[in-house]
Every structure is written in structure tokens, then in C-alpha cells.
């Protein structure tokens, strides 16, 4: 009894902090979509993605409702992680599991009853594409850096949890290769929602949800109007990334820095 595939997830409006109704009709998320959620700290960004992750039914602080394929999702979508179509990667960059990386992933594979011998190794390999600090199978989960933890949890969400919708809460803070993450998620046909303060992540997303006072203020679709800004952001990000690698390697940065 495989649940029907996810065609779309619909967010219906709730209320802002003053109890006034939100001013959008519905936000529809489909496979392959990239959406960023922006706004000042405390504006309700995390609450929005939490509503999606718990499939709010007018029973969270915001009063929003989240539908799957136009209906209330079946209970197993909400309660049984193996059927749940969304995976949230939280802002927390520490994993407190008393296990090694390989044990942790193997346990997750077992819980999902996946019969695939190579999947743990492939997940670690994918995670290593997202971070410059190598993750080893025998390392303890608690000893991973913020970037390593994030990378591993994103790779897990793609390959093991295999969720069609990913919610990423401030990925950029942990210092992972955002562009590569977005590339992999897009290629896999995932819908991705980023809560972000990072201009590059926002510009790489096709839609932007702007939050204020606990409510969705507006939804922007830049189309190609921001192409120039995106090109510049990519160039600057490239410069910063090279500098980061050089500094990490102990080099002195004396040559020209432009691209």
C-alpha cells in the first residue's frame, strides 16, 4: 500500500501575531520547486516550515493549514516517518546520537526496511560532496562539526529518507557547499524550501516568500529579473570559497582575488 505520489503541497493562510488574516490565497509547492523563505529574525520563518513539517491543520500557533494533493494528508503521512513526504533539516548543527556515522545511517536504513548494501557508503560519499571536511564512516556522530552534520543529514534526506520535499533551516550557517546541495536536490526532482539569510541561496531559488510579524507578507517570483544579481552573487561566492580553502590550508592570500 504505497501512498499516492506527491503532486503538490498547499499552504493555506493563517493569522499574523496580531490575529489578522494572512494576505495570500494559497502557496502551492510542486516537485522540482525551489523556494526561499526570507525575513528578519523572529518574523516567523521557522514557524512556516514547521507548519509544513507537521501538516498543520489549524492546530499550530499560526492557524495555517497544509494540504497534500488538495486534501488533508492521510494519518500515516503525518505519523509514520517511513511514509512522510517531507524531511526537515533543523538549524541545530549537533547530532546527539551515541553512534558512529555508519551505525547511525545503518540504523536509519534498518528502520526503513531498505535492502541495499551500498546505501550507507553512498550516503557518506554524497555528504562528502557537500563539505570540505571529510566525514569518515567510523567517526562518532557527536564529534562531527556543524558542516559535517548538516551535510550528512541532507545526504540522508536525499538517499535514505528519500523525501520528495526537503525543508532546510539556515543551511548556510554551517559552511556547506550550498550550490552543490541545490544542484543535487534539483537534479533529484526534489522540492526544496530554504529558510535563509543568504543572498546566494535566495537568488538561486525560483520563488521567495517574505515573512513579517509571523505572517507571509508577499510571495515573489523574480523570473529572470534577478539574473545579473545572481551572476554577481555567484562570482563573489566563488571568491570567498577560494579564500576559505586557502586560509584553511594555511596559505597567505597575496595574489589577485577577482574572478
Amino acid at each position: 500500500m504505497d501512498p499516492s505520489p506527491i503532486r503538490e503541497i498547499t499552504i493555506l493562510p493563517g493569522r499574523n501575531r496580531n490575529g489578522e488574516p494572512e494576505r495570500f490565497e494559497a502557496i502551492v509547492i510542486r516537485p522540482g520547486d525551489t523556494i526561499s523563505v526570507v525575513g528578519p529574525t523572529g518574523s516567523g520563518k521557522s514557524a512556516l516550515i514547521n507548519d509544513i513539517e507537521v501538516f498543520a491543520r489549524n492546530d499550530t500557533a499560526t492557524g495555517r493549514t497544509v494540504l497534500v494533493n488538495g486534501e488533508y494528508p492521510p494519518e500515516e503521512f503525518v505519523r509514520d516517518p517511513a511514509h512522510k513526504p517531507v524531511a526537515l533539516i533543523t538549524q541545530n548543527t549537533r547530532c546527539l546520537a551515541d553512534l558512529t556515522v555508519a551505525e547511525f545511517l545503518a540504523m536509519h536504513v534498518r528502520s526503513r526496511r531498505i535492502a541495499d548494501d551500498g546505501i550507507v557508503e553512498r550516503t557518506i560519499d554524497l555528504a562528502n560532496e557537500f563539505t570540505g571536511e571529510e566525514i569518515r564512516a567510523g567517526a562518532r556522530m557527536t564529534a562531527l562539526s556543524g558542516g559535517q552534520t548538516r551535510s550528512l543529514l541532507v545526504a540522508d534526506a536525499v538517499l535514505i529518507a528519500a523525501a520528495p520535499v526537503l525543508l532546510l533551516d539556515e543551511v548556510e550557517n554551517a559552511g556547506i557547499f550550498k550550490e552543490r546541495v541545490i544542484e543535487v536536490l534539483r537534479a533529484g526532482g526534489k522540492a526544496v524550501i530554504f529558510v535563509t539569510h543568504d543572498p546566494l541561496v535566495s537568488l538561486l531559488s525560483a520563488r521567495r516568500i517574505v515573512m513579517r510579524d509571523g505572517a507571509v507578507e508577499r510571495v515573489i517570483e523574480p523570473l529572470d529579473r534577478e539574473n545579473e544579481a545572481l551572476r554577481e552573487a555567484l562570482r563573489l561566492d566563488g571568491i570567498l570559497r577560494r579564500m576559505r580553502e586557502q586560509i584553511r590550508a594555511g596559505d597567505l592570500i597575496t595574489g589577485p582575488v577577482g574572478a
Partner: protein
């Protein structure tokens, strides 16, 4: 009257869960609350002030709080019924983790925190084994993979346990716990309520005041360190 017993390690989020239950059910049930703690507790005053419900506490002192709970439970039911309650929520500090305070004719709720480490479920097997529903709190602090691994650990201990994941401060996911409470049949005869499992042996020569270290100075259930991983295994 319905009875629900909430237990779990210190700071697991038991009171946060109780608050959400009260908040949701207050307009449909008259709720009474009892906290069983070891030395000090404040929840009774807080919840009475916050929701205007009858609330009390008992401190077990040197006794295991779950044992203390068993002793006072019959009185507590009479007290709550006297208050006109149709739902009694009992929160047990459950510090000893060997005991399980769950009884017949009640819903057994075990609360544990998703950030307490992967081995926690294994350490509280007695509670998990005899509860009806596990509430995993602080779900807001962990990612999808961690949730699933934690859930798998609980399932290793008790494959039949119903699991509810929640941010207990916000009350997300709580609708399934509320449903379990409402689906639980009311007490039919309080005088026939019994513990679901016999608690482990609670007394050794240390318990009665001998302070010397080493088995040589004690009698009864004594073992050397090498003899067994378990000094004594109860029910």
C-alpha cells in the same frame, strides 16, 4: 473518571505535555492533577494558578517516586472524584527508571526527549515496556534522520508502543495523544486497579543503612563485580 499516568526521566518535558493536554481538554473535561516527586515540586501550584484546576503534590523522600505513587494512587483517585474530576492526570518523576508506574484501567504515557541520546530508550526499558504511548519531545531540535533513528530505538524495546512526536512547548503533533486519552475507557472499579508489572526488589542491606562498600560487608542479594552484568533482575 479517566486516569492517565505520565512518567519519564527528569526534564523530559512531562509537565509541558501535561500543559498541552490540559489546554486542549479543559473546555470538555474537569481535570485534576497530581505530581509525585522526590524532594520538591512546583507544578501543582503552577498548573492550579494557570488553569484553575484542582492540583496537588506528594514528595516521596527516600522512597522511589514510582513506589510512592502506587501507595497514594487509590487516595488520589478518591480525592479527584471528590473534586468532581472526570480526568485525573498523574505526573511521576520516575527517577529510578527500573520501576514502571502504569496501572490497569488507565492510559500509560511515557515522555522522553529526542535529544537525550540514542541509548536512553534502552535504559528505561521497564517504563517503555509497560506504557501504551510514548511522547517524544524536543522534536523541534532534531532532523528527520535523528527522529527516525530514535523511533527505531524505542521500537527495539517495545515494538507495539504508539509513538507521538511533539514540540511540547508549541503542542505540535499532540492531537494523537489527545485522541488516545479520549479513547481510553474510564475507570470501572478503582478497587481493582493493579500495577501492570511487579516492580523490582527495592531493598538491600544498603537500603537499610549499612554504608560499607563491597559485597563482603553485606548479605542477601550480593554478587561480585565479575559474576554478572546484572546484580539482580526482577520482573
Amino acid at each position: 473518571m479517566r486516569l492517565a499516568v505520565v512518567a519519564g526521566p527528569p526534564s523530559a518535558g512531562k509537565t509541558a505535555v501535561v500543559r498541552q493536554i490540559i489546554r486542549t481538554l479543559l473546555d470538555r473535561y474537569r481535570i485534576a492533577y497530581l505530581k509525585i516527586d522526590v524532594v520538591r515540586a512546583f507544578e501543582d501550584e503552577e498548573l492550579a494558578a494557570e488553569f484553575g484546576i484542582p492540583a496537588r503534590k506528594v514528595c516521596s523522600g527516600d522512597l522511589c517516586p514510582d513506589h510512592a505513587g502506587v501507595m497514594v494512587m487509590r487516595d488520589a483517585i478518591a480525592w479527584a472524584e471528590g473534586e468532581g474530576a472526570d480526568l485525573l492526570l498523574v505526573e511521576s518523576a520516575g527517577l529510578c527508571l527500573r520501576c514502571s508506574p502504569y496501572t490497569t484501567q488507565a492510559l500509560g504515557i511515557v515522555v522522553l526527549s529526542a535529544v537525550s541520546g540514542t541509548n536512553t530508550p534502552l535504559k528505561m526499558a521497564a517504563m517503555l515496556g509497560l506504557a501504551d504511548i510514548a511522547v517524544v519531545t524536543r522534536i523541534d531540535l532534531v532532523s528527520q534522520a535523528e527522529k527516525e533513528v530514535f523511533r527505531e530505538r524505542i521500537r527495539e524495546v517495545n515494538p507495539d508502543l504508539d509513538i507521538v512526536e511533539t514540540n511540547a512547548v508549541q503542542g505540535t503533533g499532540m492531537r494523537y495523544l489527545i485522541r488516545a486519552i479520549e479513547d481510553c475507557p474510564p475507570i470501572t472499579d478503582p478497587d481493582t486497579i493493579v500495577l501492570r508489572g511487579a516492580p523490582p526488589l527495592g531493598v538491600c542491606t544498603v537500603c537499610i543503612g549499612k554504608t560499607e562498600i563491597g559485597w563482603q560487608h553485606h548479605f542477601g542479594v550480593v554478587r561480585r563485580l565479575e559474576d554478572a552484568d546484572y546484580l539482580f533482575r526482577g520482573d
